[in-house]
């Protein structure tokens, strides 16, 4: 079976390399991009099985990106995990939209999500 591909949208190099390292060790193929525009290009080149996305991106809001991503019919069914420095409490009013409209399957707060937990969640969603 071919490796499952994860599109990792993470603006911080150090964190991106850490996440990529553990996910690749667990057998996933990881394509890392820094921002929204590159994410669209990367998804167009190779349709990912899962998107992991930070909401604080340069120039774009991650939410804007998610709306754009979901506007392409081919990508509507791709599961999305939000892995962010923004606490979920700040989205309590719009959580319904994140889940129902944007298909966010997990919202993980970075400071409280260790690498083991991240791998467990990824495994659960696409493993």
């Amino acid at each position: 079976m071919s490796k499952r591909t994860i599109l990792l949208i993470e603006p911080d190099v150090v964190l991106a390399e850490t996440y990529r390292s553990i996910l690749e060790k667990k057998g996933f193929r990881v394509r890392h991009v820094f921002g929204a525009q590159d994410a669209v290009v990367a998804a167009d080149e190779k349709k990912p099985d899962l998107v992991i996305c930070e909401l604080q991106l340069v120039s774009h809001s991650g939410i804007e990106f998610l709306y754009e991503f979901r506007s392409y019919p081919d990508w509507r069914q791709i599961p999305i995990i939000v892995l962010s420095l923004v606490p979920m409490a700040e989205f309590k009013d719009s959580m319904f939209g994140l889940v129902e409209r944007l298909g966010v399957v997990r919202y993980l707060y970075k400071p409280m999500t260790g690498l083991v937990e991240l791998v467990r969640e990824v495994d659960f969603v696409i493993g």
Partner: protein, 241 residues
Amino acid sequence: MDPARQTKDYLLPHQLLLSIAEQMKLPLLQIARQAELVNLSRDLKDISGIQALATNALQLLDAYSLSLQLKNNAGFELAPETTSVASVLYDANRQLQALARMYNVQLELNIGGRFEPVLAHRKGLESAIIGLASAFIETLPAQVNGGDLKLQLATHRCRYGIVAGVYADMPGLRSEALNRGRKLYGRSRQPMVDVSHTSGAGIFVADAIFKAMSLKLHASRHRHLYGLGVVLKTSSQLSLV
């Protein structure tokens, strides 16, 4: 605090503290995750990265605590002294090299030329430059994705004195972005959203430190690069010697 000064400040101490706490999440998170990775992989070669991140976090905390002291204590001043800009930039460059390597950023020093000593509080100037450069290093890879990851600590002469600053290939870094950031800092998670994915605390802490030295941070150009810099007055007393 002097009420007149308080109204002029665009940021109240509690907002600064909140912003600093938010900003410190990133290096602590990086340290925690890297340590977890080392623990999981039993690969100790990554331990030097953790050391670099922790050292930079301590440097930032130093700059942040200085800016908070300035906010909270009207009598606490950064009195000017005769200082060599080149030596300040040289020391800042040395302290930031390990962090720059973590981000694959090539940190260069551009202090060529003969510059007179300037009037500035040495420690304050160094803390501000480290804060500024750290903010740039963090954001540069995402900002110039695939481009030239070069950052310069540089100095040049201008009509009003000697400029010391931090420069990169970031065209979005203009006066309007800085002024908008000043208005939004402490109120928005990304006050300079076109330039940085973080709160950019290093920039605004530097801004507060410069203000305490009666200096003003402004958008500046150095050759073909964009950046932020401060104009320092030359020390005429020593020029006569």
